[in-house]
């Protein structure tokens, strides 16, 4: 689905590249999480997948980004919209303001794509249902909570039936309940088979629970890539500025003191369930 090859990008007016020689292949139907400290280049990678780098944010670009059969840097943005969805941190700024109700807001993108009217209604309602907003169609987008507004942003993208959905720190401004709802909906979307999701996230517990794959970005380069449990519990994370969950830390301490049953050889836990299982005495 996604093929990034030798990709480097330096924003105009800066000296250091934000991303250096990035190689990434994401198969269709995967929920891929990108983690890393602030400034590592996570947002840049998101924008590169959606074409905003280099079309909106100018700079020097090297290498390739292919999504599906599209060469992203060579395709003008208006042609990409609808194929690659982008959701970012601030829920409020993603409401266009052009429409007065939630349903119309979701339909906005479809109207711009010239989709026939009957189909617009079906697709918009479907998108609302998939994000748990089905009963809120008549409300003003501004009357929703932050978490609901973020799901509205996702629904607005989903209605356009993108093949790839990119989310940049989507839970940053949400409370735990909103975060869980968002991840659950993303996970459902991916398991239905129609969508590939790439998201950036700081909250490792959620990544380990829902993502199929974790990619670690630090100082513009990919430094680790694999199954979330292996990557996030790896001792190399601390040095990169990524503090593992307390579950991992507790298990690591137990193993180091020789207390954990059969600690050596087993992968360290990242979530609560994994840690309870790891540390439980039989």
């Amino acid at each position: 689905m996604i093929e990034v090859h030798g990709f480097s990008f330096t924003y105009a007016g800066t000296a250091t590249p934000a991303l250096r020689d990035v190689d990434l292949k994401v198969p269709k139907g995967q929920l891929c999480a990108i983690v890393g400290p602030n400034g590592a280049g996570k947002s840049t990678l998101c924008y590169a997948l959606a074409g905003f780098v280099p079309h909106f944010f100018r700079g020097e670009l090297k290498g390739q980004v292919r999504v599906g059969d599209r060469n992203v840097p060579d395709t003008p943005l208006p042609e990409l919209s609808g194929e690659i969805g982008l959701v970012f941190q601030n829920p409020f700024n993603q409401i266009t303001g052009a429409r007065f109700t939630v349903l119309e807001e979701v339909a906005f993108g479809l109207e711009n794509l010239g989709v026939p009217r009957a189909e617009i209604l079906d697709r918009a309602n479907e998108a609302l249902r998939l994000t748990g907003l089905g009963s809120l169609g008549d409300r003003s987008p501004y009357a929703l909570s932050g978490g609901q507004q973020q799901r509205l942003a996702i629904a607005s993208m989903l209605a356009m039936r993108p093949r790839l959905l990119v989310l940049d720190e989507p839970t940053s401004q949400l409370d735990p309940a909103g975060t869980e709802a968002l991840f659950t909906h993303l996970s459902d979307l991916v398991s239905s088979g129609s969508m590939t999701v790439v998201l950036t996230e700081h909250k490792l517990e959620w990544v380990a629970t829902f993502a199929h794959r974790a990619v670690v970005l630090a100082a513009g380069q990919i430094v680790a890539d694999g199954e979330p449990r292996e990557v996030l519990a790896s001792p190399a994370m601390e040095a990169l500025g990524i503090r593992p969950t307390y579950y991992t830390q507790a298990a690591r301490a137990a193993v180091a003191s020789g207390l954990a049953p059969d600690g050596r050889g087993r992968p360290l836990p990242v979530t609560l369930e994994q840690a309870a299982e790891f540390l439980r005495w039989r």
């Binding site: 602030n38 978490g147 503090r243 579950y247 507790a250 207390l259």
Partner: protein
């Protein structure tokens, strides 16, 4: 500086009841975390503490000042409030001027202002950014500029509204060190947070709010252990306590070494490992 909230009730103009007969007293030098889901009334309560909101019934005392009788600007001598969005306040051309804004407003002498600003910048790790334009800094650094701006006012009380939003692990650690520094200086620190792990690591007392009322108020160790209470408030316990509960320990470990000690104690009491 003691903070006293006495039977405070507050309705928003829309009619929503945000605080319902809330009573809480915070002693000088305490560190308190206020937790609860969105809409529980946490921010409404915090805004009563610096005069942005006035109770409709009940009283709020900051030391010997009643908030009804003081303007927000004068209350800022005693209570510094760090808002969730630093971009709602940054306006100066340099970090220095931004951080000096508060102390200057409070009428400090140039020497005093210089000392306070310098100390605050160091505390927040911003010594090297002194001459830079705040908007040239990344979002996380701007957060620390806003915090430094509040610290420089040398108030006995500091309120932090969702300070961990948008910070990575390094940022949260820096923030934690800051809170410990406030403790050492004997300042009262109150935070509103969703991050229960941050809360458990640095705050001695936890107030749990739900639907405008205080459901629980006490030492962190005690309150964070009460599973039913937290569940009622739709709050998840910190990771280590959740793990202790899952493993059947009756304890509330707040740090990894404490967890390890509990683990050692409770698992050696059972049958030997496989």
């Amino acid at each position: 500086m003691e903070i006293k909230v006495e039977a405070v009730t507050f309705h928003y103009p829309s009619g929503v009841l945000a605080l319902n007969e809330v009573n809480v007293t915070v002693g000088a030098g305490e560190t308190v975390a206020v937790v609860g889901e969105n809409g529980a009334g946490k921010t409404t309560l915090a805004r009563h503490l610096n005069g942005l909101l006035r109770p409709q019934s009940g009283e709020v005392w900051i030391g010997d000042w009643n908030t009804r009788q003081k303007s927000v600007a004068s209350l800022s001598r005693r209570v510094a409030y760090v808002f969730q969005n630093p971009d709602d306040q940054l306006f100066a051309r340099t970090v220095w001027d931004e951080v000096a804004f508060g102390p200057r407003n409070l009428g400090g002498t140039p020497q005093q202002v210089e000392t306070d600003v310098r100390a605050a910048l160091e505390r927040c790790g911003l010594q090297d950014a002194v001459g830079r334009h705040p908007y040239d800094l990344p979002a996380a650094e701007r957060k620390f500029v806003a915090i430094a701006a509040a610290l420089a006012m040398r108030t006995p009380v500091v309120i932090l509204d969702e300070p961990t939003t948008g910070l990575d692990a390094g940022g949260v650690e820096r923030l934690g060190a800051l809170v410990e520094g406030l403790k050492q200086e004997g300042r009262t620190a109150l935070t509103i947070t969703h991050d229960l792990d941050f809360c458990a690591a640095h705050f001695e007392r936890v107030v749990v709010m739900s639907e405008g009322r205080i459901l629980g108020d006490g030492p962190a160790r005690q309150v964070l252990r009460e599973a039913a209470l937290l569940q009622q408030a739709h709050v998840r316990p910190p990771q280590l306590i959740a793990l202790a509960m899952a493993l059947g320990f009756p304890t509330s470990p707040m740090t990894v070494p404490e967890f390890l000690a509990d683990y050692r104690r409770y698992t050696s009491q059972r049958s030997s490992p496989q």
